[in-house]
């Protein structure tokens, strides 16, 4: 077997691949631009028409890029795969050389049970490869909620006790959370980076099998000029209809895109921030990010750091590869449309900042393209909206100026089997767009059906086709809603404004609908859709019909959002065999184990209602073990006279009045002060009841009464 040189494939061959790929985008865009210009040309190209044409070209090129990636992917898959891929350099894992690797998991106010049960699964899986000696695990916490923080500490100790992980699994809580996730990882690198050759970054909801982790490290060892290898995590564990649809679509369609991306990217791939291995030394040397000009949200700290880090690694000469064919790498997706929008809000701001870097000196063209695609991922939404609004104005102008515009504009006669048809001229362009949008879906289904046994993993041939069709319908319904969200995010980012969200009413056990959040979140979209729809109908009913695929989902965005967020509909779809993925029909051992462990965690009673809001603080003060563990993890600090007095007052207030009137800052200050925590524990247990708040008396009597051990994030 011939092993190709991984740093770069033959430059001529790579140039040919890229020439083909980008020429295809150019060709499709040019043809579409031709049709569009022809349509607009009918009555002369004035200012509005030119604006429409420019917007159309930009949007179509974006769609064509996706289509061409899938097209190339289909070509690669039909050829039996790409010989030039990073995984081809490692024929066997059996005698692969490994090196010291840190598996880092930055967390921020996550579900603690999920984080540590996930870590348990990853740890056990690595243990089973018998290569554990090469790996250390780090939970890097930036959690700023007392409950989360204390639960993390408890869960870490419990996990270490249960798996024998002391000295292998480490926990670090930053006192000051500077620069979010990138700062958290950088903090790790500054402290311990030199101890390790590689780090594998996991998200709080990531799962990677031991085999995948070993494979990544072995690939890095095998390819000393590679700086980053990114895997393609599969979205798993979805329960709501929305999450299951996302999981299905990602699982079914991504192979085509991954193959296509690898075809033209090769050693100039991108980094997506997690489920990837990084060579630490060059990363420390080249990837510490500066601030951008101006202040947030458009300037300041770089939020979406991953794309930039990949560009900097490439600039320094290190390869970045996408290993889309590594199995055993998973993540979870947002459960609802609104949660997805909340994530998009963060990502949109980060990706828009990349506009600054498009012309940065020394960046490789491929990285500029990644950055541009990141920007377009969000900017395309307001451009699409603008395009349609301008189209509405255009139609209005046509309708109100009959002298200028001919009545039969936009239609032409055609003869089909002897019958005369009047069809709109735009049909050709419409069909071309439809082909580009839906080809990847159809091709993916065809490829899956063509592989023996693969359709069974998606529930069978009929279920696969029905699921793909249903997913297409649902994605059509979601697209305008996402466009409205992203347009708002982009606009607000440009105006330097934040977006406020309604706090979901949690604690609605099971599948009870919280109407308030979707109504308030989507209300504006529905109203906008209604006004737009009525206006366009008044202007021109045929135009309204053209516009209806966008208007209708906007008007019905509230019920659509609620429908997609239902766990019961997700479960029903599963029962019907819809949106099944191979990870559901034939789940890997790690995911099965995670589900079992989590089910056991969630079966236990939560703390009593009265104590739940401040359960972390309760435990840290009241529980002798949690208090000791928490204090042991804190750094002792010398206090000034003023701060000593302030802490004394805080402690007295806490014991006498309870935590109800404490701010988050007060609670965090106490929790960070080792002296206060020891004193509070002593004074609480030594104080007569009449000196304590009713809340503490309840806590002392109720704590650890119902169960042998107090409620923690981990059991077993």
């Amino acid at each position: 077997m011939r092993l190709f040189l991984t740093e770069k494939m033959n430059p001529g061959r790579l140039s040919r691949r890229r020439f083909l790929f980008f020429s295809a985008i150019f060709a499709f865009t040019s043809i579409a631009a031709w049709f569009m210009a022809d349509l607009l040309w009918t009555n002369g190209l004035l200012g509005l028409e030119v604006a429409l044409l420019v917007l159309f070209v930009i949007l179509f090129a974006h769609v064509a890029a996706g289509f061409c990636t899938a097209l190339v992917g289909l070509y690669v898959i039909n050829r039996g795969g790409d010989s030039s891929r990073i995984t081809a350099t490692l024929p066997s894992l059996d005698d692969a050389t490994l090196a010291s690797t840190a598996i880092v998991m930055p967390v921020f106010n996550e579900d603690v049970s999920r984080v540590f049960e996930g870590l348990r699964v990853v740890f056990r899986s690595v243990q089973e490869t018998r290569r554990l000696e090469h790996f250390d695990f780090f939970v890097l916490s930036d959690s700023n909620q007392p409950n989360q923080w204390i639960q993390e500490e408890v869960a870490w100790v419990e996990l270490c006790k249960q798996v024998g992980g002391f000295g292998k699994i480490f926990y670090r809580k930053r006192r000051h959370s500077i620069n979010k996730k990138a700062g958290n990882v950088a903090d790790f690198l500054r402290r311990w980076g030199r101890r390790y050759r590689y780090m594998i970054v996991l998200d709080a909801d990531s799962i990677m099998t031991g085999r995948a982790l070993v494979q990544l490290v072995a690939l890095m060892e095998r390819n000393p000029h590679v700086g980053i290898i990114q895997t393609a995590p599969r979205i798993v564990n979805g329960e709501t209809l929305f999450a299951r649809v996302q999981s299905f679509s990602s699982r079914l369609y991504s192979p085509l895109f991954l193959a296509g991306l690898n075809y033209w990217q090769q050693h100039e791939a991108n980094y997506w921030g997690h489920n990837a291995v990084i060579r630490i030394k060059p990363f420390i040397e080249h990837c510490s990010l500066p601030d951008l000009p101006g202040s947030e949200p458009f300037g300041g700290r770089i939020l979406s750091h991953d794309f930039v880090e990949a560009a900097l690694m490439r600039k320094a000469g290190w390869g970045v590869w996408l290993a889309g064919d590594i199995e055993g790498t998973y993540e979870e997706g947002p459960p609802t449309l609104i949660d997805s929008a909340k994530r998009d809000r963060r990502w949109s701001q980060g990706n828009m900042q990349h506009a600054w870097l498009l012309t940065a000196r020394g960046f490789r063209p491929a990285n500029r393209f990644h950055l541009l695609m990141g920007v377009m991922g969000y900017v395309s939404s307001p451009l699409w909206l603008l395009f349609m609004l301008l189209s509405t104005i255009h139609v209005f102008a046509m309708v109100t100026s009959p002298g200028t515009f001919s009545a039969d504009v936009g239609t032409q006669d055609t003869i089909f089997f002897g019958y005369h048809f009047e069809i709109p001229q735009a049909v050709t362009l419409f069909l071309l767009t439809v082909v580009l949008l839906f080809f990847p879906k159809v091709a993916s289904v065809m490829v899956t059906l063509g592989r023996p046994g693969e359709a069974t993993l998606f529930g069978g041939k009929r279920q696969l086709i029905t699921s793909a069709f249903s997913e297409t319908v649902l994605s059509i319904l979601q697209a305008p809603v996402n466009m409205a969200f992203n347009s708002k995010f982009v606009l607000f980012t440009l105006l330097g404004q934040g977006v406020s969200w309604v706090t979901q009413r949690r604690g609605t056990e099971g599948d009870v609908t919280d109407w308030r959040e979707p109504i308030i979140t989507h209300g504006g979209q529905a109203a906008f859709g209604l006004v737009w729809g009525i206006s366009s109908y008044i202007i021109s009913p045929p135009f309204f019909i053209w516009l209806s695929p966008v208007i209708v989902p906007l008007v019905f965005s509230i019920p659509i959002s609620i429908f997609l967020s239902k766990v019961s509909f997700g479960a029903r779809a599963r029962k019907l065999g819809l949106f099944l993925t191979p990870e559901e029909t034939s789940p890997p051992y790690e995911l099965r184990r995670l589900q079992q462990n989590l089910a056991e965690c969630y079966r236990h009673l939560p703390p009593i209602e009265a104590l739940r809001a401040d359960y972390g603080l309760t435990q840290a003060v009241l529980d002798p073990y949690v208090n000791a563990m928490h204090v042991a993890l804190l750094r002792q600090r010398r206090q000034t006279e003023e701060s000593r007095e302030w802490f004394e007052q805080l402690r007295e207030r806490l014991l006498r009045n309870g935590p109800s009137d404490f701010t988050l800052q007060d609670k965090m200050a106490l929790l960070m002060d080792a002296d206060s925590m020891m004193t509070l524990h002593r004074e609480l247990w030594g104080a007569p009841p009449e000196d304590l708040a009713e809340w503490w008396r309840l806590a002392m009597r109720q704590y650890n009464v119902l169960t042998n051990a107090p409620t923690t994030a981990l059991y077993r």
């Binding site: 780090f138 270490c160 311990w192 420390i284 650890n704 042998n708």
Partner: protein
């Protein structure tokens, strides 16, 4: 079982002159009879409950052992209360518990002479890490010769939140954004210093958009 009270380093005068403690035969076992001479029943009930809660918080679920410990703590608290009835029995019981634990932890960890807070934290942590109350249900505060495996487990109980540091310098390196973004950045920073200018620009964009729509729909 030799209980910790018997060997506690309390002033012998107080211990020896405790008239409340006598012995009563229950079956073949000797159970010391204890009745506080000062304080009200409610006060001692409250103290009993507090010690019980505290032991439960330590996961001492062995009822027999728990009640024996409570009685020992309360006996000592009662003696001190007789000497000074103005003190609160709960506070006394808490102090006695704490002191007993300090002595026991110091012995177990071979850490006598350390300050209270240090011993208390290390001791409780060691107990947590070795799962002492569950694996050795009679061992907590037992002053008898501890089981060797228990002693070893207690002394091995340290947590390491992170490995030894190997510090690296990772300071931000400037990125040359190119001429256009650099110029745009400088302009933006200048505009940010003049909020009125920013507002005017925004109004200009808005008015421009209105103008375009007006023109397009004529």
């Amino acid at each position: 079982m030799v209980v910790f009270v018997a060997t506690m380093s309390r002033p012998p005068s107080v211990e020896q002159t405790n008239p409340g403690a006598s012995e009563e035969r229950v079956g073949s076992a000797t159970v010391p009879e204890f009745r506080p001479r000062t304080g009200t029943m409610d006060q001692w009930n409250a103290a009993y409950v507090r010690v019980e809660d505290y032991l439960r918080a330590h996961r001492i679920h062995n009822r027999l052992h728990q009640s024996r410990l409570i009685q020992q703590v309360l006996e000592r608290a009662a003696r001190r209360h007789e000497a000074n009835p103005s003190l609160n029995p709960i506070a006394l019981a808490a102090e006695e518990t704490e002191q007993a634990m300090d002595l026991w932890f110091a012995d177990m960890l071979d850490a006598s002479g350390q300050p209270h807070d240090r011993i208390a934290v290390d001791g409780r942590l060691a107990l947590l890490l070795c799962d002492g109350p569950r694996r050795w249900p009679y061992a907590f505060l037992d002053r008898a010769q501890p089981a060797p495996d228990f002693s070893a487990a207690m002394r091995a109980g340290v947590i390491q939140a992170g490995p030894d540091m190997a510090v690296s310098n990772m300071s931000p390196r400037p990125i040359d954004l190119g001429p256009i973004p650099e110029a745009a950045g400088e302009t933006m920073e200048r505009i940010e210093r003049w909020p009125i200018l920013r507002t005017l620009l925004l109004w200009l964009v808005f008015a421009g958009a209105l103008g375009v729509i007006f023109y397009a729909t004529r």
